[in-house]
């Protein structure tokens, strides 16, 4: 029976951005302002964190539209079960970091209550409190105790920490003589050996070289498998989908949605875009089309034929158009253009179904589907133009730009182009290619 480890109820956090400065435009006014400034400053700095109940209600009524007030979080609630790995995603200013700071008890909420069962360690930064004059050994103890370990616990794990960090040789050298990579490795090694019941991690995995990042990802995965509760904030969507069971999506301080990781990440990647996975024109007058053909519907589908917006990188993506041929007797060429997030045209695909290749089509209703194989498009959102022309002469019948969109989410599972590589691979496509390496003893 799993218990609730973290319960967040109606958390809000308000920041005062600091009262705006108003300057006078004449000398007498400036002098007067200067004389009065200590009083004004006193009021300003005193009021920075204060919100009385009446003011809070006023703010809520006004929907937070006061210019010096920022709602970093607004009425956010969720709960995390023991042993769950939950990701928190959202754009800049979504309130992710504020949420972590509240959960880590660094800053209090303005409203609401959080209940946490179990020992928490939070990792908002690696190497907090590292002192350059202290040796590696001393910093391990200092940093470990800062992160909430007892000295005895550091003693027990000391050898493991050192082995993980790969800086054995320099343990008794002051940290100021370390390279930045060594410092980060040592700091992460301490953090990785925390054994709290609940671990709160901000985007700290993006440190060190690729090999070390890989090591960190593996460690994170182990932590999840050990049945510990983890809250994880990241911009690295593949990391989120591969580490987390569930994802909470924040936007401008409110919770947009939460659910299975892959689904929410897909939704998030597509957010703010007006297009969708399915378009239908019920009114034939407004449906795009020309003299010979008219578009009725277009959609993105899974292998099972369901409309879907997000796909795993290994899954094939079906793009479909339904159209009506109004006047028979023309050779027609339905086609799709697929563009990525940056607007780069990835490919154009033409309907070369042998049955209709160079063959005039009679009037009637058609459904054409093209399949993009799995392990082909790279991670990210895609946009589809849907078009049809008649041949000889080439006359466009319809050409709907960016009418569909869908997203591909990466994973670190074997059988993908990434394999166990932790980061997103660059490039437009991400095919799985065959490799062969020959070895010859030198």
């Amino acid at each position: 029976m799993s218990q609730i480890a973290v319960n967040v109820e109606g958390i809000s956090k308000i920041y005062r951005l600091g009262v705006k400065e108003r300057g006078s435009d004449n000398i007498a006014g400036m002098i007067w302002d200067f004389v009065r400034s200590p009083l004004n400053n006193f009021r300003k700095y005193r009021s920075l964190y204060r919100f009385d109940e009446a003011e809070l209600q006023g703010l809520e009524a006004e929907n937070g539209q006061m210019d010096d007030i920022l709602w970093a979080l607004k009425n956010v609630s969720f709960s995390v079960d023991e042993g769950e790995v939950v990701g928190i995603i959202g754009g800049n200013g979504a309130g992710k970091s504020t949420l972590l700071k509240i959960l880590s008890r660094i800053t209090p909420p303005t409203r609401g209550e959080v209940t946490i069962r179990g020992r928490v360690s939070s990792l908002l930064e690696v190497g907090t409190g590292f002192h350059p004059e202290l040796t590696g050994r001393e910093n391990v103890y200092l940093n470990g105790t800062i992160l909430g370990m007892r000295k005895r616990e550091v003693d027990e794990r000391f050898d493991e920490i050192v082995a993980f960090s790969e800086v054995e040789k320099f343990l008794d050298t002051p940290v100021k003589r370390y390279s930045s990579g060594m410092r980060v490795r040592l700091a992460f090694a301490v953090a990785a050996h925390l054994e709290p019941e609940i671990l709160i991690v901000d985007e700290v995995l993006a440190v060190g070289d690729a090999a070390f990042q890989q090591k960190c990802m593996n460690k994170m995965q182990d932590v999840g498998k050990e049945g510990r509760t983890v809250l994880f904030v990241s911009h690295n969507m593949p990391a989120v989908t591969s580490l987390c069971d569930r994802v909470i999506w924040l936007d401008r301080g409110t919770k947009v949605s939460e659910g299975p990781a892959r689904e929410i990440v897909g939704e998030y990647l597509l957010a703010g875009r007006s297009t969708m996975a399915c378009r239908q024109w019920n009114d034939t007058d407004t449906a795009p089309g020309g003299r010979f053909a008219r578009l009725l519907a277009t959609r993105v589908i899974t292998e099972k034929g369901d409309v879907a917006e997000h796909f795993d990188i290994q899954q094939p993506v079906g793009i479909q158009m339904e159209y009506e041929v109004l006047e028979g007797g023309e050779v027609m060429l339905p086609h799709f253009r697929v563009k990525n997030e940056d607007g780069v045209l990835v490919f154009v695909t033409l309907d070369h179904d042998p049955e209709w290749y160079q063959r005039p089509r009679p009037a009637g209703f058609y459904t054409s589907t093209v399949w993009i194989p799995g392990n082909f498009l790279n991670e990210g959102p895609y946009f589809v133009d849907c078009a049809l022309i008649t041949r000889h002469p080439d006359i466009p019948q319809f050409n709907e730009l960016a009418v569909l969109s869908f997203a591909i989410a990466g994973s670190m599972e074997p059988g993908t182009a990434r394999g166990d590589w932790p980061g997103r691979l660059k490039g437009v496509v991400s095919p799985v290619l065959e490799w062969k390496t020959d070895y010859r003893k030198g």
Binding site: S104, E113, I116, R117
Partner: protein, 278 residues
């Protein structure tokens, strides 16, 4: 795992409310961190210096020399017949400790603000750390004191038994002032600029350069409210074997304790919002 989490600690995080008590259990849980913070302060203080811990002696020594020349030889202040070097050494050594611990404690939160924003621990550890760390310097500088006393052949008396109490009082004062000023300085950085000025004021307000007996009787009660007077006059009586000045020690102790308790309460009230106002 399950059996462990059944009796797991439950933490409730709520908006900052009214006055809160001090969580001694939590402080106990963080004692290892406290130890390492103190030890860091000690270790780092004289890092990459040639003289190292000798500075703990040089610093008061130079002050003693200067004061002895100016106030002892030139101004010829009355010291109730005690040689001026001896008179000032006994005062300057606890004073050096108090002034350094006080200014370090007051700046501790601003200096450690990057840590405050990244990790939770009882914030009170910060201002308290220098109060303990500076004891190392103090202990070393006691060697100087012993040397001066030996030179003037001052025999120890039973008054020395009061010394542990005076050392405790000497620690309570910077702790109390440090709690107040560190919490204030997070909100108002003016504290940083006022600090050197405050220290200079305190050195003249306490009987470091002159004797407390030169204060006119009608001001003596007000004068005794300054807890630093109690420490300095107490140290003198203790080490030089003169009459113990209870008229200074009692009111000074009361004021010091009030400072410590109110400082802790104010600090406790403010500590949760520190990060928001840094």
């Amino acid at each position: 795992m399950d059996s462990k989490s059944d009796n797991a600690p439950i933490v409730r995080i709520r908006p900052p409310g009214k006055w809160e008590g001090i969580d001694f259990q939590e402080l106990k849980d963080y004692r290892d961190l406290f130890f390492f913070l103190v030890w860091r302060d000690i270790k780092v203080l004289y890092a990459q210096t040639i003289m190292g811990f000798a500075w703990a002696i040089l610093n008061p020594l130079i002050q003693i020399v200067i004061f002895s020349i100016i106030f002892g030889k030139v101004a010829k202040l009355d010291t109730d017949g005690i040689p001026y070097v001896l008179f000032s050494t006994v005062a300057i050594i606890p004073w050096t400790y108090m002034s350094e611990a006080m200014s370090k404690a007051s700046q501790s939160l601003v200096a450690g603000q990057s840590m405050l924003g990244k990790v939770y621990f009882p914030r009170v550890l910060f201002p308290i750390t220098p109060v303990l760390a500076k004891l190392v310097d103090f202990s070393i500088s006691l060697l100087l004191l012993i040397a001066v006393m030996a030179y003037y052949q001052v025999p120890p008396t039973w008054n020395v038994l009061l010394l542990p109490f005076l050392i405790l009082l000497m620690m309570i004062i910077p702790a109390g002032i440090g709690l107040w000023l560190s919490a204030l300085s997070i909100r108002f950085r003016d504290v940083k600029f006022a600090m050197p000025f405050l220290i200079r004021m305190l050195i003249y307000s306490a009987p470091i350069l002159y004797t407390a007996s030169s204060i006119p009787d009608e001001y003596r009660l007000i004068y005794s409210l300054n807890p630093i007077v109690a420490v300095i006059e107490g140290f003198r009586a203790c080490l030089l074997g003169t009459e113990i000045p209870w008229q200074f020690i009692l009111p000074g102790t009361i004021v010091a304790v009030i400072l410590l308790v109110t400082g802790a309460i104010y600090f406790r009230k403010m500590e949760r919002v520190f990060v928001d106002v840094i």
